[in-house]
Symmetry: D2
């Protein structure tokens, strides 16, 4: 997370020392501070708002994104009925032991985007949950890539079960991972 360091050195100068105390143990330590709001406040009340309106409200900044979005660093950039786009900056804080972005993070982005596609079709009173997900990883991702974006769409939408697919592309439109999910609607 070079970004955090740069950022912190630049903007939080006098506070840096405090953080550094904590960080100096290994001399190469980086820090990332995230904050989020009480997720029980921003959680969707299925009886008050449709899925699409809820997602748009998050996109427009009127409802706080869930904590996981802050932690991992993804955000919704587009949503229509049955389709969604999320993006993420693939920083070092997401690295696995092989110094590439952990497949679980790509899975998180895919699950988020595919579930958003399903959620966007649900009226007030209806919610959904991912029963299962399958992800293929086709290209490693590291922090030299500016942004990766995930696009999803509904494959099949039934009354009880919906399936969706999603693809993650890097900033040169190369496919990075793709997934498919099965959601239960209730």
């Amino acid at each position: 997370m070079n970004y955090a360091r740069r950022h912190l050195t630049k903007y939080m100068r006098w506070d840096w020392k405090f953080l550094r105390v904590k960080m100096t143990l290994h001399n190469e330590e980086r820090t990332r501070t995230i904050s989020w709001e009480n997720p029980r406040i921003s959680a969707r009340d299925a009886n008050a708002i449709s899925g699409l309106d809820y997602l748009k409200a998050i996109m427009d900044g009127n409802i706080a994104p869930p904590p996981i979005a802050r932690l991992v660093g993804y955000r919704i950039v587009d949503v229509e009925t049955g389709e969604a786009v999320f993006e993420i900056e693939p920083g070092e804080h997401l690295y696995n032991p092989f110094s590439t972005v952990h497949g679980g993070i790509l899975s998180t982005l895919l699950d988020t985007t595919m579930t958003a596609a399903v959620l966007s079709t649900l009226p007030m009173g209806k919610s959904c949950s991912t029963l299962e997900m399958k992800v293929n990883f086709v290209r490693p991702v590291n922090d030299k890539i500016g942004l990766i974006s995930c696009r999803s769409g509904i494959i099949h939408s039934g009354s009880r079960i919906a399936t969706a697919s999603g693809k993650i592309f890097d900033d040169q439109e190369r496919l990075v991972a793709h997934g498919i999910s099965t959601c239960i609607i209730f």
Copy 2:
């Protein structure tokens, strides 16, 4: 991470204390600060250490865990040849918009634990990468559960391809999620 940057430029220009003020705006904001070491230092050099020794070194604290482990908050608690156990505390920072731990985090834990099972069988000179993973979510997880743990094992181990399975249990030994992965060995 444009969001954070905007956020920080706007609100954090001069200090930490201000942030706290900002958090009170919503009266419910929480903060999590994570730190990690340069992942290029702790990344496995496949030619220097076997997979099992590498994982044990992380478990014993002799090699830094990867950034993602710090970010998400998981840790390795046991590893033998072909088997691994990781655990995580399911905190609110991992919540999706439904106020349960995001399925992508369970996927991250499963991918980590299953890949560790494969990695633990690889001698010096060999490495592996997840080709694909499939996860079933069978029970929601929230922060009322103390710890969840993931146990994995090899299903099939070939010269080029290995498959592994993993299960996540909550603190009452109830199944939370299960997965399967296909790794390429090179």
Copy 3:
């Protein structure tokens, strides 16, 4: 195709020559004749018999197996609550263009055996259907292998959704394929 050949020699002795004529057209042609009973008669009436009793009745020969079992050549050899075993003789009639048993047939055997595991837990009045299935193929199968058998078990059993896993072994207990499925219960 030992079965068909045996079958034909046994039941169609005087007809064999006719078939052979037909087969000599390509000089290498083989024939398999299968027969089955009206599947609407042997289909399970969920309101009349539990899943386990239905499967046992097929195993004991009191209810006709479904047409697909005759076509492909598999049979149930054991079933208990939450577990099932099926076997198949991997004949040439199941070959793909690579002269090995088609992965779809292994998938058929896995789906059958995993669904039987779920069905075996269902009381009268309940039925199930496979929502999705995932199969890994780990070893090719050809007709030099005497019999392959598939064993399945329930992973998770909920009120609406159940998951099961299955493994296919060859006659030397080597793993051939493994799968996982998600069933909806209704």
Copy 4:
């Protein structure tokens, strides 16, 4: 079972009675006779023909289809580089105990069509094998549907690994099942 019935009336007229004798045991028995050529003759010699030319030769009737195609009753109807279309008549011989076409048969059709998409991209000297496949079943199929067709395409094509997707539609263009597969190229 129209095909088999037609086939039988056409070629085995005088034999039909004999078969019927055998079938009268249960008064409702049906018969299907399939024939195929030595699959070792029609198997692809990867060093002699490209994947696309091999598939086109089967489509044009110059190379015999594999036994499984005859058994199950599917045929290739179109193939281009990276794409394929197969179709099948969903007869009663394919029924599971629920009187619908067995999901394993839909899986067979999907695996066939997806593998064909990958094979169609391979030059002489290269072959492929399905590592794993995942299938979602979204609509039951029975013999009231005239024909179902499966269309596939490459998702990602690497030097060692390729992924493909496929969809099965009924004769009214309704989605019946969809799948995804991972192939190893060697």
